[in-house]
């Protein structure tokens, strides 16, 4: 029986080595170590042995079993890891193929710019006010010191609904509306973004466009403060190295009035096609609130002062993104919108 055991051990070791995968290994286990396996068969034959031999052979058989089980486990481990590796190999994919597409909707560039303007002014403590797109003559003109037949009304050709109502020609009417609501409280710091309308339709004018109006009313507000607030805005919007320049101008609702230029964002002031070689881009109208405007909406111009400004959103978007044709903004070509 000793020989038998030695032979089983030898055969089993060979079979373990020969097993190529876990399944074959299991077959080997069943064949040699299973309940009906060869080793068990040897032990069953121990009945014919003498009392002296029985424990010796029994111990030997146990040693063989222990040895084989250990070998089996080792072999099992090595086959397992080999199997894993080969599976990973089979599972290899082309990682350069594109991913599952996730469609992102694109915000209209005008909305993006509007949001940016709002964020900058909210950071400066401004609230956001709103007003109707169809306005009364009173808020659109008269409350802004533009009485009927004022020559400056020529500057803005309006769409009329009735003799007394029209599509607002600027976001400025939000100024008197807000003031009437809040007077005589100070400080008032607000911007009013929105759509405005003028009777113009050509390569550089759209009958509908967007403006942002802004104003501050408080005790001791000065023209110097106007310059400071607008410089802060311009530097946040167009970059910290931008400068501004103010030119005297005329708006019926401000006095003194100023056009605000920003140093050209294309050429940094050296002069280029975009700035007509001047080095400056006109982006804002502004001024100290006209005393009559303050008065009409319930503030005492001897007690408080204020300033107001307005900007065209299309102009800013075109400068920011280098868009050279206004009409693209309202054509809504998806290939255009996808760029933002």
């Amino acid at each position: 029986m000793r020989d038998q055991l030695a032979k089983i051990k030898e055969e089993a070791v060979a079979a373990l080595e020969a097993a190529r995968d876990l399944e074959q290994l299991n077959e080997v286990r069943v064949k040699f170590l299973g309940k009906k396996g060869l080793l068990t068969g040897v032990l069953r034959g121990m009945g014919g042995l003498s009392a002296e031999e029985r424990p010796v052979i029994g111990q030997l058989a146990n040693e063989v079993r222990a040895y084989l089980e250990e070998q089996l486990e080792t072999r099992q481990e090595s086959l397992k890891s080999a199997g894993k590796e080969s599976r990973l190999l089979v599972e290899t994919i082309d990682v350069t193929l594109p991913g599952q597409p996730v469609v992102l909707g694109k915000m209209h560039p005008l909305t993006t710019v509007l949001e940016e303007i709002k964020d900058i002014f909210m950071g400066l403590g401004f609230t956001i006010e709103e007003g109707p797109e169809v306005e009364t003559d009173y808020y659109n003109f008269e409350a802004l010191n533009l009485p009927k037949d004022h020559p400056a009304r020529d500057m803005q050709d309006s769409f009329y609904i009735t003799a007394e109502t029209l599509l607002r020609t600027h976001t400025s009417p939000v100024q008197p509306r807000t003031m009437e609501r809040l007077a005589p409280r100070v400080p008032v710091k607000a911007i009013a973004p929105g759509k405005v309308y003028r009777r113009d339709d050509d390569a550089t004018h759209s009958p509908m466009f967007h403006q942002v109006e802004g104003f501050i009313i408080d005790k001791g507000i000065t023209f110097a403060d106007l310059k400071g607030v607008l410089l802060t805005f311009v530097q946040q919007m167009f970059g910290a190295d931008r400068e501004i320049r103010l030119r005297p101008s005329f708006f019926p609702f401000t006095e003194p009035s100023a056009e605000v230029d920003v140093s050209c964002i294309m050429c940094n002031g050296a002069g280029c096609r975009v700035c007509s070689q001047t080095g400056w881009l006109e982006i804002l109208g502004s001024g100290m609130m006209h005393p009559r405007v303050l008065e009409m909406s319930g503030y005492d111009p001897k007690e408080v002062t204020g300033f107001a400004f307005g900007m065209g959103v299309e102009r800013i978007a075109m400068l920011k993104y280098g868009i050279d044709d206004l009409r693209l903004l309202f054509e809504n070509d998806l290939r255009f919108l996808a760029q933002f």
Binding site: P98, Q100, P101, V103, L104, G105, K106, M107, H108, M122, G123, T127, I128, E133, V134, E135, T136, K148, D149, P151, A152, F159, Y160, I161, T162, T165, L167, P187, K189, K195, R199, P207, M208, I216, K219, G220, I221, T222, F223, A224, D225, K227, G228, T232, L246, R247, P248, F250, E255, P256, A258, M288, T305, F330, E331, N332, D333, L334, R335, L337
Partner: protein
């Protein structure tokens, strides 16, 4: 306003500056120079020459050979094709090496074998307006006055050695619609002295009294009327210097009388009008509103129907001119005119504006009245014209002036406190600076210590308040010399309102669902609604109508966003963009009763056509009803909206009757979602299934609930059970879900549909549906038994209420 630099030099010393430097300074102080025009630009080496001899070209009928004395010491042989040349004339001669504004360079050449050493020039070739030339020079060589010296630079002779400053005036600076006004401004800007023109009138012995009578009837529209009478009038061309100045200003020389009135208007800013005195009935001028039914033949030979809001100049019988707008033909000054009545008046700007608009007659004169002229300048302007009449030998001046003025003409007195200047500008400007600036503008200044008493001349009618003076000081002190500070008041909080937050959330949610934002114009028209198949009596037909639209396509404000989105979709589709998913968030407009503003409804609409992005892994998803509905549902989730339901909408003519739903929130209809009717798609040149939704965004704001609150996570395991059954096809999912939820008790947490099948294995008219139900109790682990019980209850109800037959 076009300002001749040469002319300007007559009033201010410009020796220390250049046109460009002056232009920059003016722009930065408020009178913007839009453009500098060098009148002689491109002209080089062109001189005056006398045609000494002219012969026919031997080999060409249309050519002539001229021997020209151009002051070079020898006769130059020049061949010309012009027919209007005669011996002895003085003409512009482009010498060899000359350049013309067109870029043409003159070289020695041969024309049909004859050598030519230069070129004779036409007015047009020198950049002159052909029509402003004397008749003999039109269409040929420019013929200069016979006494023009020869060998002179043509730029000097024609006044082209000049630069024109084109001003871009703001409406308040009407005073700069005159040379003297501009000169006063330039004097202030440069800090030099202003020399107004010296005016002296040589009058004859007889007196205007008794020769004419002026009455202003409508004193609200005419504040002042000044008249002078000129006798022994001789019409002739005006002198070259005057013609050159008129041309530089953009006006066409006509004859001495007309040119004088235009010249004085340009110089003093006061429009003048000359009447043929002998045509005036009763030798009388009456300034009054037109009488209904009155007519006037104006200078341009058209019959004008007059309206009572128009101001006319009439004689004793009838209107002879439209005040400030255009004269009458009958009283026009002609070559036969012997006596002239000159009008220098102040008319109401608004009235002139209305009349000139109504008749489509705008002129240099009406423009000045509209913006407001100098009430104090009427007599001076009439005197200036009289002075020029004499100087030009155009007539004699009858002694005296008729001056009817219905208001006082006084300089305005405004107190300016230096403290106020500092308060507004944020900088203390020294008193001396302030005084100098105001004096430079021609204002009177009286120093009273902390306060200056400022006298503002009548020509600056834009200045009425202390703040206006502050602006004058600020702009001439220099805006860019004022410091830059930030307001130092209390800190304020910048924040979005609740409504604004919801708008932003709506936009962001829809964007994250893959729809791209578009912005369309707010205009619409009834035809677009026809294309949407909207019935005539539908409320969407009631729109806010524009009185003066740019076109019929834009004659009203939109009542729905769908047509705008359809147009965008169609435009992209035509440009071969096949897969389109877009949305817009904007106002629609609803008219209200007369006298009230329309109601503006913030509206959200989306549209989809085609498929989601192509993918190599599998088929793309078709963007259909359920695709858009998923987006709408995601939006409602983001807004915390509850109580949403959908009801089949079979009768909206814009939509597919079987693929459309009303969207309701707690029973209130807030929008629609569905496939657009194929006819609608076709009307917009679209093929394929176009899906759209439109929601009342203002209702979404009202119903949104952005307040978030934590609920504890389940501590005990839940149980998931499936349920599958066959049910009649017309039983809506909503009905089944309703039954399941109603009978699920407290344990049922959630139910979802995970399969829908109608086809071969299912009986005709039926469908198979499978639901997954989630059960959970907050305080214990559920037992099979209790869940079985609930499931059984639901199944029984489904069988009972909708005839559901349970499957395996």
């Amino acid at each position: 306003m076009r300002v001749s630099y040469k002319w300007l030099k007559e009033y201010v010393d410009l020796s220390q500056t250049t046109p460009q430097e002056l232009a920059d300074k003016m722009t930065m102080s408020g009178v913007a120079v839009e453009h500098l025009e060098d009148l002689g630009e491109g002209i080089k080496n062109i001189v005056t020459g006398r045609l000494a001899k002219i012969e026919k070209h031997p080999d060409a009928d249309k050519l002539q050979i001229c021997q020209v004395d151009a002051g070079t010491g020898e006769l130059l042989q020049i061949v010309t094709g012009a027919a209007n040349v005669r011996e002895g004339q003085v003409v512009p001669v482009a010498l060899v090496g000359a350049e013309l504004p067109s870029g043409l360079k003159i070289k020695r050449s041969k024309l049909r074998g004859v050598e030519s050493l230069g070129m004779l020039c036409s007015g047009k070739e020198l950049g002159l307006d052909e029509k402003s030339l004397a008749e003999e020079s039109q269409g040929g060589i420019l013929i200069l006055p016979a006494d023009t010296p020869i060998g002179k630079d043509i730029k000097e002779v024609l006044g082209l050695d000049d630069v024109v400053l084109e001003l871009e005036l703001t409406p308040n600076r009407a005073d700069c619609l005159s040379m003297v006004g501009v000169a006063q401004e330039v004097a202030a800007v440069l800090g030099v002295e202003f020399h107004p023109p010296m005016i002296e009138v040589k009058e004859t012995e007889d007196n205007i009294e008794g020769l004419a009578r002026v009455d202003i009837v409508d004193t609200d529209l005419c504040k002042r009327y000044v008249a002078r009478i000129f006798r022994n009038v001789k019409t002739a061309p005006s002198p070259q210097w005057m013609q050159q100045r008129l041309r530089a200003a953009g006006m066409r020389p006509i004859s001495n009388i007309v040119d004088i009135t235009n010249y004085v208007m340009l110089e003093m800013g006061q429009p003048l009008h000359a009447f043929d005195y002998d045509t005036l009935g009763g030798q009388q001028i009456i300034v009054r509103r037109a009488v209904p039914g009155e007519e006037l033949v104006t200078l341009d030979n058209s019959v004008r129907k007059l309206e009572p809001e128009m101001l006319v100049i009439a004689d004793a019988k009838a209107p002879v001119g439209l005040a400030g707008v255009m004269g009458g033909l009958d009283s026009e000054v002609t070559d036969e005119t012997k006596t002239i009545l000159l009008e220098s008046a102040y008319f109401d700007g608004a009235c002139i504006r209305r009349t000139s608009r109504k008749l489509g007659l705008g002129s240099e004169a009406s423009k000045r009245f509209e913006k407001g002229i100098d009430l104090g300048g009427c007599v001076r302007a009439a005197d200036r014209a009289a002075q020029l009449m004499v100087e030009l030998g155009a007539g004699e001046i009858v002694r005296g002036v008729i001056d009817i003025c219905v208001t006082s003409v006084e300089d305005k007195v405004i107190n300016l406190s230096l403290e106020r200047v500092g308060l507004i500008l944020g900088i203390e400007i020294p008193k001396d600076n302030v005084v100098n600036i105001l004096k430079g503008l021609g204002f009177g200044v009286e120093d009273q210590g902390a306060q200056l008493v400022v006298k503002v001349p009548t020509r600056r009618n834009d200045i009425t308040l202390e703040e206006d003076l502050v602006e004058e000081v600020a702009r001439l002190y220099g805006y860019n010399n004022i410091p830059t500070t930030l307001p130092d008041g209390p800190t304020t909080q910048g924040a979005r309102t609740y409504g604004q937050q919801v708008h932003d959330l709506i936009r962001k949610t829809i964007l994250s669902c893959g729809l791209t934002e578009v912005l369309t114009l707010s205009f619409s028209n009834q035809k677009l609604l026809d294309n949407l198949r909207i019935p005539q009596d539908d409320s969407q037909r009631r729109a806010v109508v524009l009185q003066n639209p740019l076109s019929e396509e834009q004659n009203m404000l939109r009542t729905t966003l769908i047509p705008g989105l359809l147009e965008v979709t169609a435009r992209n589709f035509a440009r071969r963009v096949k897969d389109i998913a877009i949305f817009e968030l904007g106002n629609t407009f609803e008219p209200t009763t007369e006298g009230k503003l329309p109601v503006e409804h913030l509206t959200l609409a989306g549209m989809a056509l085609g498929q989601t992005a192509q993918n190599w892994q599998g088929k793309p998803v078709t963007m259909d009803f359920y695709y858009l509905k998923g987006i709408v549902e995601a939006l409602f989730t983001a807004l915390g909206l509850t109580g949403v339901s959908y009801a089949a909408e079979k009768s909206n003519p814009s939509f597919h009757p079987g693929r459309t739903a009303k969207v309701l929130v707690k029973g209130e209809e807030i929008g629609i979602i569905g496939q657009l009717h194929p006819d609608v798609a076709e009307n917009f040149d679209l093929s394929g299934e176009v899906y759209a939704f439109q929601l009342a965004a203002d209702k979404l704001v009202e119903k949104a609930d952005l307040v978030k609150k934590y609920r504890s996570l389940p501590r005990f395991p839940g149980m998931e059970r499936d349920m599958a059954f066959v049910v009649a096809r017309d039983v809506e999912a909503a009905r089944i879900l309703e039954i399941i939820r109603a009978n699920g008790g407290d344990l049922l947490q959630d139910v979802t549909i995970f399969d829908l099948y109608q086809g071969q294995q299912i009986k005709e008219g039926y469908k198979s549906m499978a639901f997954s139900l989630k059960y959970q109790a907050p305080d214990r682990t559920l037992t099979d038994e209790e869940v079985n019980q609930v499931q059984a209850g639901i199944e029984a109800k489904l069988a009972e209420e909708v005839g559901a037959q349970l499957r395996g």
